[in-house]
């Protein structure tokens, strides 16, 4: 990145700090203590990372969230209850009866336990926090609620440390959260613009409230990477929670094993986020940076250090610039190692947003100040809680450096098992939620049998030339078919406007095809016009992890632009792509998932579409197989078709048929 760029974007990152939100306070013994934000702001100023008086890096809160904005997500009755409980009980007659009434109200709306007790002034404080997130998101989206900026001054990234109250539900408070600021802001922007919004939740707890709010909406993709809910609050967040109705496929959950460490975490994150973002093509990213994933956190079992936590913001930053023209809002979130982790993690997050470097050592006066606070208030509880969570292996000291020194965090005994299970989970998420052609453009390092090398796909046509062409006459003019396309050819061609089934934008679709062409073990066949527009494509690629261990098994995916349908191109293209000498030595399969179909565009029902796919592949000798494969079995209109070549070893064919019906105990649990 050039210097001019970094100076510019430095001025285009802003931090929204609202002192009024410090009243979001449940009392001194509560784990969520606003002192963590005070320690953060102090650290930012002591280490010269942020200056509150610099008008170029501060973003002012425009207004607290209004009733109207809050009720986009929350029920009016709930908001009324929060308002009521937020007021002190007035002295007067019937005190006892009113008190009784109040505690009934509290327990009906989720304030009945010690997690989220009713606190005086909580409505105002939470409405300010929700307002802050609305301001932040509106500012990067260029909406008036974000304040008025010239186009050059409009902030690209905003950090709002108070935000990220992701557990609040429509009708009740939960897990320290009252108003779901991220959900309210997203709902507000959905209403005010055409944007598609990506929400990424790095908090160790599942982002259940945000997921619920948009579970059926394909304009919002929620991705939550969290510790498995087998034991941990809130218990939800299984991979199979994938969204409902037209939102199927837009809720992504990656439950990680307890005691996951940096390397395992980074591997999971890097093998999912870029692919999901390519598939979704959002306009803006809003991320929750709960740092309760840290090894010192008293509320969870995850065992990251600042290295893993900083990798989250680094990757998100990069993705925001690659896919969203930089539009990115970062929120705080959980984080209950109040003084030892939160200020350092979020200080580094702000440094990432504003493209500054954090100093190696923490400022001495800061350490002195907050070490005292920690010793007085939190160190004993920290130690006990760490022991209770089974995390007593890491040293209990007050840090003096911004980043955790690796030697303080020795490797854990069962790292191998944990990483193994996490990899399986990642494989399942890739399999279920990433469209096949995107999966193939981002290959996963796979373990293959040593014999599979004998069968390199590039040598499928052993006798004929490696790349063939054919001319096809259609009613809309001549088109050319070409198989085993080299990357250089794809570079010279471009994708037709309606060729967007997988990546949703023709340019991205083109990028994907280019990646597939580069990939050693995939074959790409395209149909293009003489003018150089790609109007259809077939990819043949090795089957993904779910099918691991079956040799010579390839997945076929086909796509034809909506402008060129009904001309018989799909059939010709598929026949052409499958004209392979080695066809009879291979097993091909294709999966049709109704949430990838644009049946609407064609004006036919899902059942009819299914028949269409069956028929198309039927012309090449594919037939339908019933299967327990989780994606296919999820909806009756989904379909799996396969073709087992007649020279395929019977043992391998049986292996394939068995795998079709294998029990779906998927994650090794």
């Amino acid at each position: 990145m050039t210097d001019t760029h970094s100076v510019q974007s430095h001025h285009r990152a802003r931090l929204l700090f609202d002192a009024g939100a410090l009243h979001y306070d449940f009392g001194p013994t509560h784990p969520l203590n606003p002192n963590r934000i005070r320690a953060l702001m102090d650290l930012l100023q002591c280490s010269n990372l942020w200056n509150p008086d610099d008008p170029h890096t501060a973003l002012a809160l425009t207004a607290a969230a209004t009733e109207e904005q809050l009720t986009l997500i929350h029920s009016p009755a709930y908001v009324a209850a929060v308002r009521e409980l937020s007021q002190p009980l007035a002295e007067g007659v019937n005190m006892l009866a009113r008190q009784q009434q109040r505690s009934e109200l509290a327990s009906r709306y989720g304030f009945g336990d010690s997690d989220t007790p009713p606190a005086i002034g909580m409505h105002e404080a939470s409405a300010r926090i929700a307002g802050g997130t609305i301001t932040a998101l509106s500012a990067v989206m260029g909406l008036p609620e974000g304040g008025t900026f010239s186009e050059e001054e409009r902030p690209l990234h905003v950090f709002h440390p108070h935000g990220g109250l992701h557990h609040a539900w429509a009708e009740h408070a939960s897990g320290f959260c009252i108003y779901n600021d991220a959900a309210v802001a997203i709902a507000y922007v959905l209403q005010a613009s055409e944007a598609k919004i990506l929400y990424i939740d790095f908090d160790a707890h599942h982002g259940d409230g945000v997921q619920r709010a948009f579970y059926d909406d394909p304009r919002v993709m929620t991705i939550s990477i969290h510790e498995t809910g087998r034991y941990l609050f809130p218990g939800s967040g299984d991979v199979l929670e994938m969204g409902n109705g037209s939102g199927r496929g837009y809720s992504v959950n990656v439950p990680l094993e307890p005691y996951t460490e940096d390397d395992g975490y980074i591997e999971v994150m890097e093998s999912l986020l870029p692919q999901l973002i390519t598939a979704f093509a959002p306009h803006v990213i809003i991320s929750n940076h709960g740092c309760d994933t840290h090894s010192w956190d008293p509320l969870t079992h995850l065992s990251l250090t600042t290295r893993g936590i900083n990798a989250q913001s680094k990757l998100t930053h990069q993705l925001a610039h690659t896919y969203c023209q930089g539009r990115w809002v970062a929120l705080g979130g959980g984080g209950y190692a109040l003084y030892r982790v939160v200020p350092r993690a979020w200080g580094a997050l702000w440094a990432e947003l504003s493209e500054q470097k954090v100093p190696e050592r923490l400022p001495e006066d800061w350490v002195e100040r907050w070490r005292k606070v920690w010793l007085n208030e939190a160190s004993d509880q920290d130690e006990i809680a760490q022991e209770v969570m089974g995390k007593s292996y890491s040293l209990s000291e007050f840090p003096t450096t911004f980043n955790d020194p690796a030697e303080q965090f020795p490797p854990l005994p069962c790292r191998w098992d944990i990483n193994y299970i996490n990899r399986q989970t990642t494989g399942l998420v890739r399999h279920l939620l990433i469209p096949s052609s995107i999966r193939q453009a981002f290959p996963f390092s796979r373990q293959r049998s040593p014999f599979s090398d004998l069968f390199d796909l590039l040598h499928l046509n052993r006798s004929s030339t490696p790349s063939r062409t054919r001319v096809l006459d259609t009613k809309q003019g001549q088109i050319l078919l070409r198989d085993f396309c080299p990357p250089s050819l794809i570079e010279r061609l471009r994708a037709e406007a309606k060729l967007n089934a997988f990546a949703r934008l023709p340019e991205r679709e083109h990028k994907l095809m280019l990646d597939i062409a580069h990939s050693q073990d995939c074959s790409l066949t395209v149909a293009h016009t003489p003018a150089g527009e790609i109007i259809g494509q077939v990819t043949i690629a090795p089957a993904d992890e779910w099918w691991e261990g079956i040799d010579n098994l390839y997945e076929v995916a086909i796509e034809v632009s909506a402008n060129w349908r009904g001309l018989g191109i799909a059939r010709e293209l598929l026949a052409f792509a499958l004209t392979l000498d080695a066809k009879e030595d291979m097993i091909f399969f294709a999966i049709g998932l109704n949430w990838h179909w644009d049946a609407e565009n064609l004006g036919i029902s899902m059942c009819k579409y299914r028949e269409l796919i069956k028929h198309l592949f039927g012309t090449q000798g594919f037939r339908e197989y019933s299967t327990t494969e989780p994606n296919v079995s999820m909806e009756p209109t989904n379909v799996l078709v396969a073709r087992v070549g007649n020279r395929v070893d019977k043992h391998i064919a049986d292996q394939f048929l068995n795998r079709l019906m294998r029990s779906t105990a998927l994650t090794g649990m």
């Binding site: 784990p31 009945g112 336990d113 010690s114 809910g229 941990l232 307890p258 209770v388 089974g390």
Partner: protein, 240 residues
């Protein structure tokens, strides 16, 4: 728990004289696998209120229809005819029935032992001198699974705590519940299942808290054994 607590009461029913085509439409439209077959009976109460009762005649399932379709002659012009057949020709009489006061465990036993997916729930009434079975609901395997999932507290956000019960002694469970109450921790559900010898070994609690440490510390002090998350074992295997 009795059948009335968990049964489906939204009844989509067909009549014996309806066609199979009609049944297929309903099965598709409502994503169902079974339809009760009923006869309507209109009755006036002594106060003059008119009510419609559904008298249970039997059940028709997707399987019955599949069989009817498969048995139809293969020639093209006759193929559509099977859809014109009447339900009374293919339905089965569902002689196994339960009442709303049957216990859920008994209903579950019947479903599993007989390999059924669905049972009609009826109330027997004396109508015009004859005992008639009036359909009031259905109980399916899905209803049972939902009941199980609710019993495990999955509808509320919460965390899972397993309390170990020493043989023949459930005091640790009782004490845990008392402590939870004392510390204002909500208990969403408690589930303890006996093993083959009939002993309770573990009670699974769903607690509505994000911050369990204070409670866990107290449990330790009281000497109550529990498991929460895989504690790291030295032999290198995470506890599942």
């Amino acid at each position: 728990m009795i059948v009335r607590d968990i049964m489906t009461t939204r009844l989509i029913a067909v009549e014996p004289d309806d066609t199979l085509a009609h049944a297929i439409t309903l099965l598709r439209q409502y994503h169902l696998h079974h339809l009760p077959v009923t006869r309507k009976l209109h009755r006036k109460s002594p106060e003059g209120v008119l009510t419609t009762l559904l008298l249970c005649e039997g059940m028709v399932s997707t399987q019955d229809i599949d069989i009817a379709a498969a048995a139809a002659p293969g020639r093209k012009n006759e193929q559509a005819l099977w859809q014109e057949r009447r339900i009374v020709e293919v339905m089965h009489h569902a002689s196994l029935r339960v009442t709303p006061t049957t216990s859920v465990s008994a209903a579950a036993q019947i479903l599993v032992e007989r390999g059924l997916n669905c049972l009609p729930v009826v109330e027997y009434e004396l109508i015009e001198g004859e005992t008639q079975a009036v359909l009031v609901g259905l109980i399916t395997r899905s209803d049972l699974l939902q009941a199980l999932s609710r019993a495990m507290g999955s509808s509320e956000p919460g965390m899972q705590l397993d309390v170990l019960l020493p043989p023949g002694d459930i005091r640790s469970l009782a004490n845990t519940l008392l402590l939870a109450r004392e510390m204002h921790v909500q208990v969403h559900s408690v589930l303890a299942t006996p093993d083959e010898q009939g002993n309770l070994k573990v009670a699974s609690l769903r607690l509505g808290t994000i911050n369990p440490s204070p409670l866990l510390v107290r449990l330790r002090k009281e000497g109550i054994q529990y498991s929460y998350g895989g504690s790291l074992k030295e032999d290198g295997t995470p506890q599942r």
